[in-house]
């Protein structure tokens, strides 16, 4: 007995996590990815065209929470303040006044009307990664675009996993005619031209992320459902399931307590890969102009801009770099996860 010395027993999930941690590349990829996601979730605090705090004429203002008209800061108009305006900046630098800007003083859709160079502008001290062809800051775009991509990827993975596990479980556990009917349905459903449906729908309905999520989810569950079905078909034959049936355990309990936990290995293994596939799908659709509505920061749209402005190398290069790093991190995590869940690999 290998571990009879340790009184506390590790669950299989804990042991898999240990094995995952031992894979340095995968583990650090996970940490780096989580850090990037956290950073992008707090994007408003990192990259914003409004200052965090403004002290003006003895009073404190919170521009992130409230809109202040320019008149508050000595301007002439009732319009919301543009904090990038050199006049406002000068006002905020006067005696006793100060403003705490975010690290990168641009939001995702901020257009710098006061730029010194024509758009798209190459990297400079004002715009670290340059601007795109509409004068928006590239770094801010990438940060917000990454957030949209990752959140979309997470949501699509979640719906795909839920639907896939549910349908796979039903087919695999019930078997027989139900299985046959579902399989035929999947074959028909899977042969529908997904891309044309997306084009048609984006022409008929107003494009939105929600619509995209629904459409992609409708087709995204099939691959996983096959794996879960196969696992269920295998596991329901095993003796521990027979023993549970001999004990009279209800079907729902058998699925939930016995078969499902033992059938999740392919699901977990595929999570990072599904996520990277989802990110890529969104990027490609955006690139084609079928994706998120205009004005939403998006990596695919940036790639399209890069293609339209070949000489503006900073657009395509930096977007490409963000995509490659994201997908690589996910792939490394997936590899480590696959190793960690491989039953043939013993604990060392």
């Amino acid at each position: 007995m290998s571990s009879s010395t340790s009184p506390v027993s590790l669950s299989p999930a804990r042991r898999a996590w240990r094995r995952f941690q031992r894979n340095r590349l995968g583990y650090w990829s996970l940490l780096a990815f989580c850090a990037l996601v956290l950073l992008s979730l707090g994007a408003e605090l990192v990259s914003n065209d409004r200052p965090l705090v403004v002290r003006y004429a003895g009073q404190t203002y919170w521009p992130m929470l409230h809109d202040y008209p320019e008149t508050v800061f000595g301007g002439d108009f009732q319009t919301p303040t543009d904090y990038l305006d050199p006049f406002i900046r000068a006002q905020l630098r006067q005696d006793g006044n100060w403003a705490l800007y975010t690290l990168n003083p641009y939001g995702a859709n901020t257009i710098n009307y006061f730029a010194e160079q024509p758009n798209p502008a190459p990297p400079s001290a004002a715009n670290w990664l340059g601007t795109d062809d509409r004068g928006r800051d590239l770094l801010a775009q990438l940060l917000y675009g990454f957030r949209v991509s990752v959140l979309f990827g997470l949501a699509l993975t979640a719906t795909g996993v839920l639907l896939g596990v549910l349908t796979g479980a039903i087919q695999g556990y019930l078997g027989g005619k139900t299985d046959l009917a579902f399989q035929r349905f999947i074959e028909i459903w899977g042969s529908m031209p997904e891309l044309y449906l997306l084009i048609i729908f984006s022409a008929v309905l107003a494009p939105s992320i929600g619509l995209l999520l629904v459409l992609l989810s409708l087709f995204g569950w099939m691959g996983l459902s096959d794996y879960v079905r196969a696992e269920f078909l295998r596991n329901r034959q095993l003796d521990y399931v027979k023993a549970a049936r001999a004990l009279g355990v209800p079907s729902g309990q058998i699925i939930w307590r016995h078969i499902l936990p033992n059938s999740l290995t392919p699901v977990v293994t595929f999570l990072p890969f599904r996520m990277s596939a989802a990110i890529l799908a969104l990027t490609s659709l955006d690139f084609l102009g079928l994706g998120v509505p205009p004005g939403t920061p998006s990596l695919g749209e940036l790639l399209a801009q890069g293609k339209a402005n070949i000489d503006a190398w900073w657009i395509s290069l930096s977007t490409f770099a963000v995509l490659v790093v994201t997908l690589l991190l996910l792939t490394f995590m997936g590899d480590a996860l696959r190793d960690a869940l491989d039953p043939r690999k013993a604990d060392r």
Partner: protein
């Protein structure tokens, strides 16, 4: 006489793990040496490393074949030795034969390579070899693919292939383990005949002591990578010196059951009349679209089990004995009359109606493979307590835990041996301990009948004896009735009161254990009993 093979101080390591430690033995020409040990003792690796087929193993020591050092030969020279001077027969002929070549082609290939015969000559010689191994119609069989042959015929074909190069030494790695009992004796007799006629030496690797006694001249016993004792069969079986060998020799199942029959007129706990179980099968062609065929797995079985008694069901794989067990457990729909504790399974038997639930509490099961019969993702408490969640949902978590601990103590597992026992997962337990857990899971609902489906065939012999002793004790203490399904005549002899012999879904012979095993009537039973030696 100079030894054919001299092995000195052979050690095999996989990474840091040493699986064979300083093993040394000799084989004389024409000698039959048996290498005996439990699974994991390193006996197969020892044989494979003689042929340098042990994968990425790190081999050290000496292995001299007629004075030639095998371990330092070049890979090219080694290829000449493999299948030439040393041939090997594997345990599972289905995976050791190439499924895409006829067996005639596979044997002829060896002949062309090793004896440089022309294709026509080798095809003819292959048929002669097959004839020598006793395959009927060898000329026709040579054109068969492995899946077209029965298990015994496949193993004969493997042996023919090994003999093709007229080896000086044959390594036989569990050559009969994958075969049905009645075939084992035949294959072993064949090996012995061939050994006598060709004068080759045989190294038989096995865990089956009956085979050793029948076949070998000398025995070498391995335990945890060490060779603990060797000597002639008479010496080792008659006066084993090493404690491990003594334990191994004493591991024949012992009979320790209540012999006195219950009072006449006692109602049977399990009673079946004309029991029939059939599976739907797909029909070929268009017919299969509209109806299903039927495969009858069990036909016309009558049986009864009295309280506190054991009915042994003996038969080969495919004889329908496991199907019979599942029907009695109410896991398969069945025809004919079947009552458990005076009650019938309500149709459909697979449905959990209240009446069926009550029956499920009465009849429980222990399966063969302790590795697939416990869910790897549940703790011991979850596994053993499962039955209480269903049949005694009123219990609080603390009461349930107390009952689990009590039943675990009953099967010989407690906190003293395993701190934190209840929170452990199955992977931390050995095969025998897992089988105890499986027994505890069945016992906790207080059944009267326990179906034991090959409860010990996946276990090593010394562990097997312990589990059987546990089952005997539980039967005495709780007055349990057992339906014991097995292919092992020794186990039946130790456990059963009545015996039922099955073949192809039908009962061939039935009676008390003494009647059936000591004076078998049916030729099939006679073969079965004879094979068990």
């Amino acid at each position: 006489m100079n030894p054919l093979l001299q092995v000195r101080d052979l050690s095999v390591r996989f990474g840091a793990k040493e699986v064979v430690r300083g093993v040394g033995f000799d084989i004389a020409p024409g000698e039959k040496l048996a290498l005996v040990g439990e699974s994991g003792s390193g006996k197969t690796i020892t044989a494979l490393s003689l042929l340098r087929l042990a994968g990425e193993a790190n081999i050290s020591g000496q292995a001299l074949l007629r004075g030639r050092e095998l371990l330092s030969l070049s890979e090219r020279e080694m290829r000449g030795v493999r299948g030439g001077e040393i041939a090997m027969v594997f345990q599972e002929p289905m995976t050791a034969l190439n499924p895409l070549m006829t067996i005639g082609q596979q044997i002829a290939e060896v002949l062309e390579l090793k004896k440089a015969l022309t294709p026509a000559q080798s095809a003819q010689a292959a048929i002669e070899l097959l004839a020598k191994t006793g395959i009927p119609e060898p000329a026709r069989r040579a054109g068969s693919y492995p899946h077209q042959l029965s298990g015994g015929q496949r193993q004969r074909a493997m042996i023919a292939m090994a003999l093709a190069s007229e080896p000086a030494l044959l390594l036989a790695d569990e050559p009969t383990t994958a075969l049905d009992v009645s075939l084992r004796g035949q294959i072993l007799d064949l090996l012995a005949d061939l050994q006598r006629s060709t004068g080759m030496a045989v190294l038989l690797i096995t865990h089956d002591l009956n085979l050793v006694r029948r076949f070998a001249d000398r025995v070498a016993v391995m335990e945890q990578g060490r060779l603990v004792e060797q000597g002639s069969v008479a010496q080792i079986f008659g006066a084993p010196q090493h404690p491990y060998t003594q334990r191994l020799m004493a591991s024949q199942p012992r009979r320790d059951v209540v012999e006195a029959p219950p009072a006449p007129g006692t109602a049977a706990l399990v009673q079946a009349q004309g029991l029939r179980v059939a599976y739907p099968t797909a029909l070929p062609g268009v017919r299969g679209w509209f109806r299903k065929g039927e495969f009858v797995a069990v036909q016309g079985v009558d049986l009864q089990i009295l309280p506190g008694r054991t009915l042994g069901v003996v038969g080969e794989s495919g004889s329908g004995k496991s199907t019979l067990a599942q029907a009695i457990l109410g896991l398969l729909p069945h025809g004919g009359a079947l009552s458990v504790a005076g009650q019938q399974w309500q149709a459909p038997a697979t449905h959990n109606s209240p009446a069926n639930q009550a029956l499920r509490q009465r009849v429980q099961v222990v399966f063969q493979d302790p590795f697939s019969s416990l869910s790897p993702r549940l703790t011991v408490e979850g596994i053993v307590g499962e039955g209480l969640r269903v049949h005694a949902p009123q219990l609080s978590a603390a009461e349930r835990r107390a009952r689990v601990q009590q039943v675990l103590a009953d099967v010989g597992l407690d906190e003293a041996q395993f701190p934190g026992l209840l929170a452990r997962y199955p992977h931390e337990f050995s095969g025998g301990q897992r089988q105890r857990l499986a027994v505890a899971r069945a016992l906790i609902v207080g059944p009267q009948v326990l179906v034991l489906d090959e409860p010990t065939s996946a276990l090593d012999v010394t562990i097997q004896q312990q589990v059987l002793a546990l089952l005997q004790r539980l039967q005495k203490e709780h007055g349990l009735s057992y339906l014991l399904i097995t292919h092992d005549v020794d186990v039946v002899r130790a456990m059963a009161h009545e015996v039922l012999v099955m073949k192809d879904g039908q009962v061939l012979e039935q009676g008390s254990v003494a009647q059936v095993l000591d004076a078998p009537q049916h030729p099939y039973t006679q073969r079965l009993v004879a094979a068990a030696g």
